[in-house]
């Protein structure tokens, strides 16, 4: 389905609702002027209303076959690009395997927004403060991308380039995000700092994913920080502080320091460099404790 929306004079915008990913990709590849992909619309519609963008073409991907489903695959889950936060939050399997990813995603917006918002959309909006992205990066999630020449897989960590910019080429769309399998005694957690309790954007955030052995010793870890650099930062040095420990206070202090050291934030209306740097470390420490408990470490 495609329809032309025209007003008097200046307003001229095309809306398309293809039924296959290949068709969506083709429309975007061949489009001239500005384009926007519409899934939940919780960023696109706000940008339209605020006059920030005036796309010539909007491609609604919600009718693409399979794009709203969650399927089991190789012990992990493939989450369609148009799956909403509310749908993901009610999926017992994903919640059990990747609670940190789900809780990050579910922090976005309000109940109403959760009925529409998608993880892929959150990722493609390109914000360094996106709440679902640190969890996906810590989880080593993989995005499946449909382009004019076919499909490819790309780590979520490689999608954001800079604030508002992503690495997808013209004509490429994300069709699903894969959350991989994980061993026993593994879990994750996400925390963000906002001055309020909800309806806000992260001033700093941290996701921690841990694998423990049977004795509660951390065998591997991934730590990702949000809103403290132009893109989400994977802090390998911080993860190293946890491996081989039972998350004793000294390990957590080292983790916190390593996270703060990895921050490269800005001063803006939402927070200062000093604040973001300090609080990112605090959040990482607290998220690590939660992930450790969830993994059965205590």
């Amino acid at each position: 389905m495609s329809l032309k929306i025209t007003g008097i004079g200046l307003v001229n915008m095309q809306y398309a609702r293809p039924e296959t990913a290949a068709e969506a990709s083709k429309l975007l590849a061949e489009a001239r002027g500005a384009t926007r992909v519409l899934a939940g619309g919780t960023d696109v519609l706000v940008q339209l209303k605020a006059g920030m963008v005036e796309p010539d073409l909007i491609v609604d991907i919600k009718k693409i076959d399979g794009i709203r489903s969650i399927t089991q695959e190789d012990g992990g889950y493939r989450v369609g690009a148009a799956v909403s936060g509310a749908e993901l939050g009610e999926h017992a399997g994903v919640v059990a395997l990747w609670p940190g990813v789900v809780e990050g995603f579910e922090l976005i917006g309000s109940t109403q927004v959760q009925g529409r918002a998608t993880m892929a959309g959150n990722l493609c909006n390109g914000s360094p403060a996106a709440d679902s992205v640190p969890g996906m990066v810590a989880a080593q999630a993989i995005a499946r991308i449909q382009g004019p020449a076919g499909t490819r897989d790309c780590p979520v960590a490689d999608i954001p380039v800079s604030p508002g910019k992503i690495s997808l080429a013209k004509g490429e769309i994300i069709t699903s995000i894969f959350l991989p399998a994980r061993p026993n005694h593994a879990s994750d957690a996400y925390l963000r700092f906002i001055p309020r309790t909800e309806m806000d954007i992260a001033v700093a955030s941290a996701a921690v994913s841990l694998v423990l052995d049977g004795a509660g010793v951390c065998t591997s870890a991934r730590v990702a920080l949000g809103a403290v650099a132009p893109t989400v930062v994977l802090v390998r040095g911080a993860a190293d502080c946890l491996v081989g420990t039972k998350l004793e206070d000294s390990a957590l202090a080292a983790l916190s320091d390593a996270c703060s050291a990895a921050c490269n934030p800005i001063d803006d209306k939402r927070g200062t460099v000093e604040f973001r740097t300090q609080v990112a470390g605090v959040l990482a420490k607290r998220a690590a404790r939660i992930a450790y408990d969830r993994a059965g470490g205590r």
């Binding site: 007003g7 008097i8 004079g9 307003v11 001055p195 309020r196 001033v203």
Partner: protein, 747 residues
């Protein structure tokens, strides 16, 4: 009107909690707000706003916009005259910049078109050539000689030398010998404070529909706290006679003082006059933030002397308020209210109003008082910590009471401050245990309240029901309270009365809904209207019975012979008298017109418990109790609602709300995402304790309650934070980055 002499009067209606009359309409979406008005052939208007904080408008070229299909008219300041009256000129210049833009968001042109989308696009085709000027947004910077001058020639004579032309007015209040007073103190504290500008944050943006006809009449529908004020201002700007401009106030989605002025109505009227079509104009949220009035931001110095047992010996405050790009008078109210809670021998306040390149300040719940009282109550609290004194005992020891010469001049009549403080002291909240990183703070609050011009008509319908017609938009439950007072006076059930807010051609002049005046003033006028209607009904009964009018009394909703000598007649109820009114002289009504005084001040005390996250500086409000003197709570649900709403807004002011400007002088957070009002989950249930110390100036003892509750939260929270983490903040908001930095600095 004095308090009724039957002091022990038993109320049957007043003090009950009937269902609110506007509830069904509001929850079902049926209520007609400003943006809901439509008219056949209506055009849609949009406003082009300045991207600069301060600039000369060299030229405006709207030819490309006007050439666009669907665009019907463009107006700029050239479409308006230059009013002689300075107040009117300022309102007009704020609605449409003349010569210079004075702040980011200042209107420079407006378009009317056949659709909102066309109007929006047309704005992009208007070319404005600006010459950008240096700007100033900070109050202390703006006062310095050499600061960029926002408007020239606006300084009043009593402003001394040494300031820039941005300082417009100076004021001074107080009495006693400060030098002698400070000499008696065991310790003197001098502290400086700053508070940020905060917005009223009403849910409903400003909206109006203007329809000017070719024979010079006009109708205007708008959301406002004062349709008569809108009429007077717009009629003068448009060169119309008042009777020809009928203004109807819509249902209102919040005001809090912010809808006591005029921002868009003259522009919509000018577009309607130019096009000959009705014109609708609705502000976006961004426009509301950038171009309507927040409150002032402030810079203040407070000096207080105290004996070690807690007696204040002398107190003074220097208050500097910026109110945006036009002269304002708000510091006067700060100067008057700063020390109002205290009985002082020596007290002085000095105030300066200052212009900056920001939107013109508008009233916000007790305008001018919250920041001044925040500064004073912070210093009093620091004394209590220093001397190890109980903060309620110190306030009780120094409390203003009946007979106190207030710090702003008048001598107080019966007031409720001591009763309120004692209620706080006796409340379980005050002694409840606290955990680690938790602290309890308190503060007094005060507001003058206001009476003013008021006009009410009470119609007795022939079926025995009552229609009350009044002229003040209902922003806090006044329709319910007015109906209750009418029912009380007439002796009939509440649900027999309906109160409506009329347009400017349907009732006499009423002042704006402000100063917490409506339940007091309109209530008073309603009571008198009812008494006048009762007089008529008694006369009708006398006529039916063939007895003297003076021999008839009104009791329990019926006329009765005053005693056995008057005659033996069965009482006639209101409904019975009303049913035969056509045969006894025609319709029955009561009226009252008054410029009411005797509003009666209102004091409050707030207790706040907070917990501060030692690693992030985040402050969580754990428990909150409001104690306030309402004089007489007519509809206690609404009184509690005012107390809770004021506290919620004050908590936002204390913790996160602020206008944030960039170096370019542009507002950076013109939306509810980054202008952070508290959301429901940020707040605990706000407990309320209503005190009733009757106001001697009202027949039932009513005092206004709407404004006082926004005053105490600022200091109550700052004092609580100080006691939780041992760091005293001297700046609001205490947002987490600022508080964490201060906590780090403590070491």
């Amino acid at each position: 009107m004095a308090l009724d002499s039957q002091a022990k009067k038993v109320f049957k209606q007043v003090g009950t909690r009937p269902r609110r009359p506007d509830g069904v309409d509001k929850v079902t979406g049926r209520a007609m707000y400003g943006a809901d008005a439509t008219a056949p052939g209506m055009l849609f208007a949009r406003v082009l706003r300045s991207p600069h904080a301060h600039a000369v408008i060299k030229s405006i070229d709207a030819s490309a916009a006007l050439a666009q299909k669907g665009v019907k008219a463009v107006v700029t300041s050239a479409d308006f005259g230059v009013p002689e009256d300075l107040f009117i000129r300022d309102v007009q210049d704020n609605c449409m910049a003349r010569g210079k833009v004075l702040y980011d968001g200042h209107a420079v042109a407006a378009v009317a078109a056949v659709s909102d989308a066309v109007a929006k696009q047309a704005l992009k085709l208007i070319k404005v050539d600006y010459q950008v000027l240096p700007h100033v947004t900070d109050v202390d910077e703006a006062m310095k000689p050499g600061a960029p001058v926002v408007q020239q020639g606006r300084t009043e004579e009593n402003v001394g030398p040494g300031f820039s032309e941005n300082v417009t007015t100076y004021c001074e209040f107080g009495h006693g010998d400060l030098v002698a007073g400070f000499a008696k103190a065991d310790r003197i504290l001098e502290r400086s404070f700053k508070t940020a500008a905060t917005h009223q944050g009403y849910i409903e943006p400003h909206a109006c529909l203007a329809s000017v006809t070719s024979d010079g009449k006009a109708d205007l529908w708008c959301c406002t706290q004062g349709q008569f004020h809108v009429r007077n201002v717009c009629a003068e700007i448009m060169g119309m006679e008042s009777s020809q401009l009928r203004v109807t106030a819509s249902e209102i989605g919040g005001g809090f003082g912010g809808k006591t002025t005029v921002f868009i109505e003259p522009v919509a009227l000018a577009l309607s006059r130019k096009t000959g079509r009705p014109v609708k104009m609705v502000m976006s949220r961004e426009e509301v933030f950038r171009a309507t009035g927040p409150t002032v931001s402030s810079s203040m110095d407070v000096k207080i002397g105290m004996t070690r047992d807690g007696r204040i010996t002398a107190a003074e405050a220097h208050l500097r308020y910026q109110g945006g790009a036009f002269p304002t008078g708000t510091v006067t109210m700060g100067g008057q209210s700063a020390f109002a809670a205290y009985d002082l021998e020596a007290v002085r306040t000095y105030g300066w109003n200052v212009m900056t390149n920001r939107p013109k300040e508008a009233a916000y719940r007790a305008p001018g008082a919250p920041m001044a009282i925040y500064a004073v109550e912070s210093v009093v609290d620091e004394f209590c910590q220093h001397f190890g004194l109980d903060p309620l005992d110190v306030r009780l020891m120094n409390a203003a009471k009946k007979g106190t010469r207030s710090s702003y001049g008048p001598t107080f009549d019966a007031i409720g401050l001591i009763a309120t403080l004692e209620a706080a002291k006796a409340h379980p909240h005050y002694t409840a245990p606290l955990g680690p990183n938790q602290g309890r703070g308190l503060s007094c609050g005060f507001w003058f309240n206001f009476g003013g011009n008021t006009c009410v008509t009470l119609n007795v319908n022939s079926d025995g029901t009552i229609g009350v017609t009044e002229g003040n938009p209902d922003i806090g439950g006044s329709r319910a309270s007015i109906s209750l007072m009418a029912a009380e006076e007439l002796g009939i059930p509440y649900d027999k009365v309906r109160t409506i807010v009329a347009d400017t051609n349907s009732i006499g002049y009423n002042d704006i809904t402000d100063g917490s005046r409506v339940t007091f003033s309109v209530g008073l006028a309603t009571i008198q209207s009812a008494r006048n209607a009762i007089k008529v009904m008694c006369a009708r009964a006398a006529k039916i019975w063939g007895i003297d009018e003076d021999a008839v009394i009104w009791e329990d909703g019926a006329a009765k012979p005053s005693g056995p000598n008057a005659g033996d007649f069965e009482p006639m109820t209101l409904a019975e008298i009303a049913a035969v009114s056509a045969e006894t002289g025609g319709p029955i009504a009561g009226h009252h017109e008054v410029n009411a005084d005797g509003a009666g001040v209102s004091f409050g005390v707030h207790l706040a418990d907070v917990e501060v996250d030692p690693e992030t500086g985040a402050t969580k409000v754990l428990r909150y109790t409001v104690f306030q003197d309402a004089g007489r709570a007519v509809h206690p649900d609404y009184v509690e609602g005012q107390m809770q709403g004021g506290a919620a807004q004050g908590i936002g002011w204390a913790l996160n709300e602020e206008y944030i400007y960039g170096k370019d002088g542009r507002l950076q957070n013109a939306g509810f995402l980054d202008y952070r009002v508290p959301v429901a989950s940020d707040l605990p249930n706000i407990d309320t304790v209503i005190l009733e110390i009757p106001n001697p100036g009202h027949p039932y003892g009513v005092r206004g309650v709407g404004e006082t509750p926004i005053v105490p939260p600022l200091a109550a929270l700052s004092n609580a934070v100080s006691r939780a983490v041992g760091v005293r903040m001297h700046e609001l908001p205490m947002s987490p980055p600022k508080l964490l930095k201060a906590m780090n600095g403590k070491g």
